[in-house]
């Protein structure tokens, strides 16, 4: 991490730390803490997308599927088999990693439109499985009565507890992602994004790195899915369909795909937009999403962070 990143990190951490103290006493916005828990969970997914799409340049339309694999693995293992949530979480991550690995090896040989279609198809298949395996997942009517989380023997009841737990995880993941980006692997990923054949000629094992970053993004999505499950304690396949994959990508695009800070900013912003400010549109919020997606892709392809003055943003990773 550059000194600039550390500065942003400290400022963001302070902001997140004090945020509940400011909003909770105000009745009208006290539920913002709840919104921020969701924002934190989605940020974990979106940091993975930022690594995969923003840095390595590999498109995936299947992140909601991995989010769902984590969520349902946690849900099924804890609600049906009585496993401890903290043990179910790595199980979900392992399953997501395995699936991502098996799908990723052939899929990441494809590029651009074809990779997008392949991951899209895979995502839809996962969604069909979640809806059809009624005996395991409860099918379209979903699952209920999933236990919450316990931290050091104490049941996590309040939104505030969840808030600090989730955001601690977000900052740990953020540090981990920065660490990767400043390592040999991170430089290799950016080289793949710039020009894959050149990277390969320089001796970068492109195929292996691409699959690895895909697996990593799947694990992050699955982890987020597990937290989501235990927070909302009920599941429905419609939270893991194609529209959600697109929403995650939109979150990252709004903030700025090629910056982890952009992913964080975009996710928080779009979660508020989605959970708070679009309710007036009810069913038609999908139109607003489409419009935002189109406008961002056409006029602001590098996201909000690209509006930061160039000098300050120089080499922002």
């Amino acid at each position: 991490m550059t000194p600039r990143d550390w500065r942003i990190f400290v400022i963001t951490a302070l902001f997140i730390g004090f945020f509940p103290w400011v909003v909770q006493p105000v009745k009208a916005i006290s539920h913002y803490v709840d919104v921020m828990v969701f924002a934190g969970i989605f940020t974990i997914v979106c940091l993975g997308i930022s690594l995969l799409m923003g840095y390595a340049g590999q498109i995936s339309m299947a992140q909601a599927a991995f989010f769902g694999i984590g969520a349902y693995t946690s849900g099924i293992l804890t609600a049906r088999f009585g496993l401890n949530p903290w043990a179910a979480m790595p199980a979900g991550a392992l399953l997501a990693a395995l699936v991502a690995w098996v799908v990723g090896i052939p899929a990441l040989r494809l590029k651009g439109h074809y990779l997008a279609m392949a991951t899209l198809g895979f995502g839809v298949i996962v969604h069909i499985v979640l809806s059809e395996e009624v005996a395991w997942t409860g099918g379209p009517s979903g699952m209920v009565d999933i236990p919450g989380l316990q931290v050091v023997g104490l049941k996590l009841k309040s939104e505030l507890g969840w808030y600090y737990l989730v955001w601690t995880v977000v900052f740990l993941v953020l540090l981990f992602c920065f660490h990767i980006l400043h390592s040999r692997v991170g430089r290799a990923l950016r080289a793949i994004h710039e020009e894959e054949s050149a990277a390969e000629a320089m001796g970068v094992p492109t195929a292996r790195y691409k699959v690895q970053v895909f697996v990593l993004s799947a694990v992050l999505a699955s982890l987020a899915g597990s937290f989501y499950t235990h927070y909302v304690t009920c599941l429905n396949p419609s939270s893991f369909n194609l529209m959600w994959s697109i929403r995650f990508i939109l979150m990252v695009m709004v903030g700025g795909m090629q910056s982890l800070w952009g992913a964080l900013l975009g996710t928080v912003l779009m979660t508020f937009v989605g959970n708070e400010w679009l309710h007036v549109f009810a069913d038609f919020e999908v139109l607003v999403y489409g419009a935002i997606l189109l406008l961002v892709a056409l006029f602001l392809p590098k996201g909000l962070v690209s509006l930061v003055p160039r000098r300050a943003a120089a080499r922002s990773i």
């Binding site: 799409m53 340049g57 498109i59 799908v103 052939p106 899929a107 040989r109 494809l110 590029k111 651009g112 439109h113 074809y114 997008a116 279609m117 392949a118 899209l120 198809g121 895979f122 839809v124 298949i125 069909i128 499985v129 809806s131 059809e132 194609l242 697109i246 990508i249 695009m253 795909m257 069913d283 038609f284 999908v286 139109l287 999403y289 489409g290 419009a291 997606l293 189109l294 892709a297 056409l298 392809p301």
Partner: protein
């Protein structure tokens, strides 16, 4: 099981599989036309099919046109939507990265779907068949008259397009624009117009598929994505850019889906075509009928 009814059931599944397969083929042809000219995969292709069906419903029920007139009206209006999509959106994105282009066509598909929900609501709509009458009975299996129409429409589209691209100056100019845009421009081909034409044509063909299928399987605002994905499966399986390949591959997908629904599980019938799509992309991205050499030149 009685061998006669088994045979009749088999035939019935085959017929319904071929019918839906031809629709996938038409969707695939829509992808192929745009791909042939721009090497873009248009993620909004399925929405054109949905729009075609719903516009036909609008023209028959609200404006009270006869079905044949409604067919052409729906095809023309959807063609205009394709025209507008290119003119207003794709043209602005000419210098975008592949990633942005993908996102842009997805955004358009969301907008089209959302607008359809806005106008028509969430209910499925039906349309009268193109010609009324009882289904034909062949060896115990029923063939709906609409199925014959679907075959006729697709055969006509495939034949016309093959001639268009092989023989006509416009068709050849479109292929040249895809092959090498700057060289095409050099010999005087208006590449931008060719791209505009490709989007219009592709939307119109998608709409033709949509109108044809609506009397059999109804149409609602959110059918586009899945139809689009399966059509893309047919396009890849048949070799991108190839019309005849798309036709055969579409029927293969339709048959696989219909047999799965009949003999295995109807819940997983949608997954069958997608699994075949993944297998095709992973192991034979040049398609069943594409050549490996030609595939190397494409941007897989």
């Amino acid at each position: 099981m009685d061998s006669f009814t088994f045979g009749a059931a088999l035939l019935q599944y085959t017929i319904s599989g071929l019918t839906i397969g031809v629709i996938y083929a038409l969707v695939a042809i829509g992808y192929n036309i745009i791909y042939n000219v721009t090497e873009i995969i248009n993620f909004a292709q399925g929405e054109f099919v949905m729009l075609g069906g719903l516009f036909a419903v609008f023209f028959t029920q609200t404006i009270q046109l006869p079905v044949s007139a409604a067919f052409f009206a729906a095809v023309i209006v959807t063609g205009c939507v394709g025209f507008a999509m290119e003119r207003l959106v794709i043209r602005r994105a000419r210098s975008s990265t592949v990633l942005s282009l993908i996102i842009i066509t997805i955004a358009v598909s969301i907008l089209l779907k959302g607008s359809a929900m806005f106008w028509w609501g969430k209910n499925p709509y039906s349309l009268p068949a193109f010609s009324s009458g009882r289904p034909f009975i062949i060896a115990g299996a029923a063939v709906q008259r609409q199925a014959i129409w679907i075959f006729a429409v697709s055969a006509l589209v495939v034949i016309c397009l093959t001639f268009f691209f092989r023989r006509s100056a416009y068709g050849k100019a479109m292929l040249a624009s895809a092959d090498n845009p700057s060289a095409a421009r050099m010999v005087g081909i208006p590449v931008r117009q060719m791209i505009l034409l490709s989007f219009t044509l592709s939307a119109a063909i998608g709409a033709a598929a949509g109108v044809s299928i609506t009397p059999i399987s109804l149409m609602e605002y959110d059918r586009g994505a899945l139809l689009g994905l399966k059509g893309f499966g047919a396009a890849v399986l048949g070799g991108l850019g190839q019309f005849f390949g798309a036709l055969v591959a579409g029927m293969v997908l339709g048959l696989a889906e219909s047999f799965c629904a009949g003999y295995l599980s109807s819940g997983y019938k949608d997954a069958v075509a997608l699994v075949l799509l993944l297998l095709a992309l992973f192991f034979k991205p040049e398609g069943l009928f594409g050549s490996r050499e030609a595939a190397k030149l494409k941007k897989f």
